[in-house]
Assembly symmetry: C2
Homo-oligomer: 436 residues x 2
């Protein structure tokens, strides 16, 4: 049995432990929800105050040049790039994940239709008109795909995660997957699936919302086509921080995306009526960006610069797996038979979160109340409701940047107490809606 002392010893030996000092975390809280909203990096309040008081308040309009506001989406993109295996000048931090997905999915559709038109020497042959995605993908991804299918006369086919390889037929143009599932924490084999898609003539779009900053991602090595991701989860950019978009350099100047605003223009300050898209990732920008929120994300990425000195994403991944392994082991030891593990146990098949579903020995519908009882104890995870296909789940995110082995042990001890004392049965832990 692993003791609390064992966990403390592991913390003492943890070379990443100093990174926790880079965050302001509430005293006494064990925060296992960084997969939903990352914690506040300590440097951010000062940076934000500076942007507000000095850049906006004092320098006003001059800051577009002197503070580099106009280039900020590309500069922040360049800082995200190494975390996702992309090159400099290939990523832009802008807009929201949903909006960016609309851009890259539109571009992918344009690319497919264009290639077919060229192949048929001007005569369009409508062959590949299907987008394949996962039924349990984060809903907004499916909504955006549905919208584009409606606009463009394509079809959206929803499949189970294990059905990808058998759904890459000649009618499929685009495969759109989320690398790490928001609900289960299951991770797809990005290089393998991308290779299979390409072998079948299908473009691969990856949503990295639950991967960027959480697991090593190799977009270039995987030869992916397009990617989008989130700034406010494992990148700790703050609530609703701008998202990001990446396009493989082989496609970037070859196809067009319809959110063609002035920030994506080749010469935005020429103020000419005709749209000329920039020849690089800049064309995936659209309108003026929320500079205060974007600056918070920029500052938050300093944490990864520090993490790089201690081994970077590979070291973070090693610790993430150690934390999640420990959590699983402790739950199985101290809460035996009370939960089923929803997240795959195998390392290669999961991200940085662990999801549990209450076993049938526990009262039906108790998942929400257990999460609330844990939160009341300062152990913050979250809850996702089930439906006909899926069970209710308890979701725990493990951010190696600020979590310790002791935190994990204390979280499981709290869980054990909530179960033993039937705290979840208290009326104050009533169900209400939850936020991703």
């Amino acid at each position: 049995m692993i003791s609390l002392q064992d966990c403390k010893s592991r913390d003492a030996a943890d070379t990443l432990a100093p990174l926790r000092q880079l965050f302001n975390l509430p005293q006494g809280m064990i925060y296992l929800d960084g997969n939903s909203l990352g914690a506040l990096p300590s440097a951010v309040p000062h940076r934000v105050a500076q942007v507000v008081a000095d850049q906006w308040g004092r320098d006003l309009i001059g800051s577009w040049n002197t503070a580099g506001w106009f280039d900020l989406p590309r500069r922040v993109g360049d800082r995200i790039a190494p975390l996702i295996g992309a090159g400099a000048g290939e990523v832009v931090a802008t807009d929201t994940t949903s909006v960016n997905l609309y851009k890259v999915l539109s571009a992918a559709i344009n690319l497919v239709e264009q290639a077919e038109a060229e192949h048929a020497e001007g005569q369009v042959r409508a062959t590949r008109r299907t987008i394949v995605s996962e039924r349990s993908n984060f809903p907004t991804d499916l909504y955006i795909a549905e919208a584009l299918c409606r606009e463009r006369g394509w079809n959206l086919r929803l499949i189970e995660p294990h059905e990808v390889h058998t759904n890459l037929g000649p009618e499929v143009g685009v495969l759109m997957l989320t690398h790490v599932n928001y609900r289960s924490g299951a991770m797809h084999d990005m290089p393998g699936i991308t290779a299979a898609a390409h072998a079948a003539g299908v473009l691969a779009i990856w949503d990295l919302c639950h991967s960027a900053g959480a697991v090593p991602v190799e977009l270039t090595k995987s030869d992916a086509d397009f990617a989008v991701g989130c700034g406010y989860k494992y990148l700790n950019g703050g609530p609703g921080a701008p998202a990001f978009a990446w396009v493989h350099p082989r496609h970037v100047a070859r196809c067009w995306q319809p959110l063609a605003g002035w920030w994506g223009h080749a010469r935005p300050f020429a103020f000419t009526p005709g749209y000329e898209p920039a020849m690089d990732i800049t064309r995936y920008q659209c309108g003026t960006q929320p500079i205060i929120s974007l600056s918070a994300l920029d500052c938050a990425l300093d944490v990864f610069t520090e993490a790089d000195k201690l081994g970077g994403m590979p070291a973070l991944r090693t610790k993430s797996l150690a934390l999640t392994d420990l959590f699983i082991e402790l739950v199985e030891t101290y809460c035996p038979g009370q939960f089923e593990l929803v997240t795959p146990r195998e390392h290669a098949l999961r991200g940085s979160q662990v999801c549990l579903t209450p076993a049938s020995s526990l009262p039906a519908g108790c998942a929400y109340a257990i999460v609330q009882a844990l939160i009341a104890r300062g152990i913050v995870g979250d809850y996702r409701a089930g439906d006909a296909q899926q069970s209710d789940i308890l979701r725990f995110g493990f951010t190696p940047l600020y979590l310790s082995y002791e935190n994990v042990a204390m979280a499981v001890q709290g869980l054990q107490e909530v179960l033993n004392d039937r705290e979840y049965a208290q009326p104050r832990f009533n169900r209400k809606h939850a936020v991703t």
Copy 2:
């Protein structure tokens, strides 16, 4: 001749003068660029610090509920509504102007095509497939229209401002205009043009970027169909603050917009795969919003709550016209024959800015250098380059919330000195690019 003492007397009698105390303006600066980036309201730094430290840092994920982050776009929208003559629940503060224009223009196209399909009882008759806009509209509006025309098989026709009434033929589906022109400051007759559009069976979309907070706008009374606008100009929401969208209630549930992300879903927390748009303006939301930037805008709108106690938009308009009239009169008095007025002189035909173009008596291409020389003196206006159709201009925005009559007098005195001393001829005032 108007003396500086006259101006000081007018300031002493100005009931809106106390509003200036609600802004942090740099000592000694006369800021005539609030039409590009509004000044910093004094209350914003504290609010932003609170959002960062308390809502994000301390309450973390719980703030989605406790701080009302999820409803913030609608709450801020409700505060913008009275400034633009819209009702509660009709406006949403979200995304960027370009992205919002894509939404409402898509919706308008859908509405036109839908009405024709219904009229023909299922048989689509492609009659109205033209969008009419102004050649000198802000370019991003034209780029977005161009993009949608490309996607949807429509045409974009660009006209001069005086040609609107003769361009509302049976082939036109949508008229898309910016109420106050970003360059000239000229203002369209919103009620008259909307009525003419409707009489011709054409939908009217209004871009309020240079109107909201600057001039009284009456969307409902004008019977407009759709509107978008900017949060960071006269609303003072900070650099790149989220924009807004309004849809007339008669249309809102009747047509669909393709940026159909989860924040526009009728039940976003059901996490179901099929998209069901909300039945109100919520459907014009898409993805998770930048809460820090949106909170700054929310706080900035407190200034208008204070202004309401002193007469609100009508009083602000009266002062704005008095300031701009004074500016024009002083320029014509103290810099006689050196500029031509680009902005219409008639009150009903202009917004809250004044644009000048150097007369032929001044050296060719001196407009940029004059603006730079003024900035060096702490008089901040901006410059817009001309082209084959348009002259170079000096652009001055007059925000009655924080400008005094004395400011206007001192600005013109500065302009006179720049001209008399030929300061604009100094090499340090070299041309480089400018930002809207």
